[in-house]
């Protein structure tokens, strides 16, 4: 019996998926189909059940609640809470899409979104360029290659919050090392984290520093998977180094680079610790990105504005999903699977 069932699972793996079939015919499923599907797929479904249940309970339910909260006027004072032994019931009310209209027509959301986009695009672009350059250099053979490689990966190996504090230490305006070096060269102290423009520069620099190692290692893996015959062929055709890079390396890196760009865009867009620990979004709100601002609404102002925070959270998620969908569509029109 066991043998029989397991074989049918393997067979099912080769066959077209049930969903594809039902979409193709459009007819209601024939009787007994559910039972057949169950007997064929119950192994798979049992194996994925723990994750499905956990995701449903700890991600799905809070997500639904979050969306609901964004449609209310919930804040610290009107949610259900217990003061001592007294249970206070929730008194917030449903306000429909008011929070969304407020966010989308006000300056704050759009202003923060603008800086978040600048932050994301510049971080990803610079990180990618540096990672690509370093990966190309490290892909050659020369003395001391693995030592350089180790050194360059180091920022990735340090827990993020530790690195950020290290940078705060270097950026310190009065006594930080960077200003000390500048004053050695006779240059005035730079208010790294206290001037809006410098603070923006500083947070981007730290995020790039944190992000380059991953980019470099991933692209290095991509480079090593390009067959060397391609380069040999290009050399025979007399391609210059630049032409080889342009017509062999870049196309060969496409699968890796599309993935890492997608990943690092999403990570950077959501990069909470760098901004939160380095500047807390300051000075003013100059370096506040959407995620840190949403956090601020619910945990740093009084009364805590849960509704506004949830609204921003939902908007961020929608933005990211739209981005991922467009990105994937662009890739698909160019012939990639994902």
């Amino acid at each position: 019996m066991a043998v029989h069932t397991s074989q049918s699972v393997v067979k099912a793996a080769g066959a077209e998926s049930a969903r594809g079939r039902s979409r193709g015919t459009g007819n209601p499923p024939p009787p007994g189909r559910l039972r057949r599907a169950l007997s064929t797929h119950w192994y798979a479904w049992t194996m994925v059940a723990p994750v499905v249940i956990v995701i449903g309970v700890i991600i799905g339910y809070p997500l639904v609640r979050g969306v609901y909260l964004s449609l209310t006027d919930a804040n610290e004072r009107n949610v259900a809470r217990s003061i001592g032994v007294n249970e206070m019931p929730a008194t917030y009310k449903f306000v429909g899409l008011d929070n969304y209209t407020e966010a989308l027509t006000g300056d704050q959301f759009l202003g923060t979104l603008g800086w978040t986009l600048v932050w994301t695009v510049s971080c990803v672009a610079i990180t990618f360029a540096l990672g690509l350059a370093l990966a190309n250099i490290l892909n050659r053979k020369f003395a001391g290659r693995s030592a350089y490689r180790m050194a360059l990966i180091l920022p990735w190996a340090i827990p993020g919050f530790v690195s950020v504090f290290a940078w705060r230490f270097l950026y310190n305006e009065d006594r930080g090392l960077l200003n000390r070096i500048l004053s050695g060269g006779g240059i005035d102290a730079v208010p790294w984290l206290d001037d809006p423009t410098w603070a923006k520069f500083s947070v981007i620099a730290v995020n790039v520093w944190l992000g380059v190692p991953f980019m470099m290692v991933a692209l290095l893996g991509g480079l090593q998977s390009i067959p060397s015959e391609h380069y040999e062929a290009a050399e025979m055709d007399g391609a210059t180094a630049w032409q080889r890079f342009r017509h062999v390396t870049m196309p060969g890196l496409r699968p890796v680079s599309t993935t890492v760009v997608l990943l690092s865009t999403i990570w950077t867009f959501n990069m909470f610790p760098v901004i939160f620990l380095l500047t807390r979004g300051g000075p003013g709100e100059a370096t506040q990105i959407l995620v840190t601002q949403a956090y601020k609404f619910s945990f740093e102002i009084s009364p805590r504005d849960f509704a506004q925070s949830s609204t921003w959270g939902v908007l961020i998620l929608v933005l990211l999903m739209v981005f991922a969908a467009i990105y994937r569509r662009v890739l698909r029109t160019q012939g990639d699977d994902w």
Binding site: V48, P62, G66, W156, F161, L170, R180
Partner: protein, 295 residues
């Protein structure tokens, strides 16, 4: 085969642009290469090294550029005797350890099922795993906070562990799928020939083979929980309950900075993590890109 690589000289004579082969470098290019790498390495290593050096200096020199005037472990003894560092360290260990254990156990079989079987709902599940990985902390933090508050789990390690599972479960499932994909299907088939059920195949044959992959997944999810800042900052209050990410913030706040204990703590947190990481990173990238690139 007249244009074999050996005929480069002839080529460069007839073409304006000199074709330099891969691996062939002029001394100038070689210097430039090493110079670039040295600069990049210094930028990469220096902040870390500087924190290490500062941690070994007496507090009065903390913000001076004097290197080896006096070397002392006073920052370390101070950190361990006079602050809650060890408590935070313990809290972080408990939270990250439990998160990793639960995450790996919950998601192992899913990684296998998604790697091997085709079943109705698979596409939906894969998309869910992928999309939940890009959930910003902002979208779940408020509802989870409220739920934890109503269940009395705020400020408790268990509450934080449950919260971290929202990050670690989708991630672990996705990454393990990548590792299972690298194990040849012939092994599954041989298991079936021997009369093993899919569970038996998974448990007896595939899981032992996937041990390195699982170790890497576990390691990475440990590191993620270890370094998490947002939930830890929002959910934990009171010096005794903090994890390291929260504890370090106490040393460096808006009003002043205790760089001595901060740097010593940074070193104690970073060095073990970095050592393990540098050993594991090769497999790490393989797993991540295998999962992500092949879909």
């Amino acid at each position: 085969m007249t244009t074999a690589p050996t005929s480069t000289a002839r080529h460069s004579a007839s073409r304006p642009a000199k074709v330099r082969l891969r691996g062939e470098r002029s001394p100038l290019a070689s210097t430039a290469l090493h110079l670039t790498l040295i600069v990049a390495s210094v930028v990469a290593v220096f902040p870390v090294l500087w924190v290490l050096l500062t941690s070994l200096k007496p507090a009065k020199y903390a913000t001076t550029a004097d290197f080896f005037k006096e070397t002392t472990f006073e920052n370390y003894t101070n950190l361990i005797e006079n602050t809650k560092f060890l408590t935070w360290f313990g809290n972080s260990l408990i939270v990250a350890g439990l998160t990793t254990l639960a995450g790996v156990i919950i998601s192992a079989s899913t990684g296998y099922a998604v790697s091997r079987f085709r079943f109705p709902g698979k596409r939906g599940l894969m998309w869910t795993l992928l999309i939940t990985q890009m959930f910003p902390v902002a979208v779940l933090i408020v509802p989870i906070y409220n739920i934890m508050a109503s269940m009395g789990l705020l400020n408790k390690p268990s509450g934080l562990v449950i919260t971290y599972l929202t990050i670690s479960v989708p991630f672990c499932a996705w990454m393990m799928k990548g590792f299972f994909d690298t194990i040849p299907r012939e092994i599954d088939e041989s298991g079936q020939v021997d009369g093993l059920t899919p569970f038996g195949t998974f448990w007896r044959l595939i899981l032992p083979l996937a041990k390195p992959g699982i170790a890497v997944t576990a390691f990475y999810s440990f590191i993620t929980a270890w370094g998490e800042v947002a939930y830890a900052s929002a959910f934990l209050v009171g010096e005794d309950n903090l994890t390291l990410a929260g504890g370090l913030q106490l040393f460096v706040n808006q009003y002043g900075a205790q760089w001595g204990p901060m740097t010593a703590a940074s070193v104690l947190i970073a060095i073990p993590a970095a050592l393990v990481f540098l050993f594991a990173q090769k497999h790490l990238v393989t797993g991540m890109s295998a999962g992500a690139v092949k879909g």
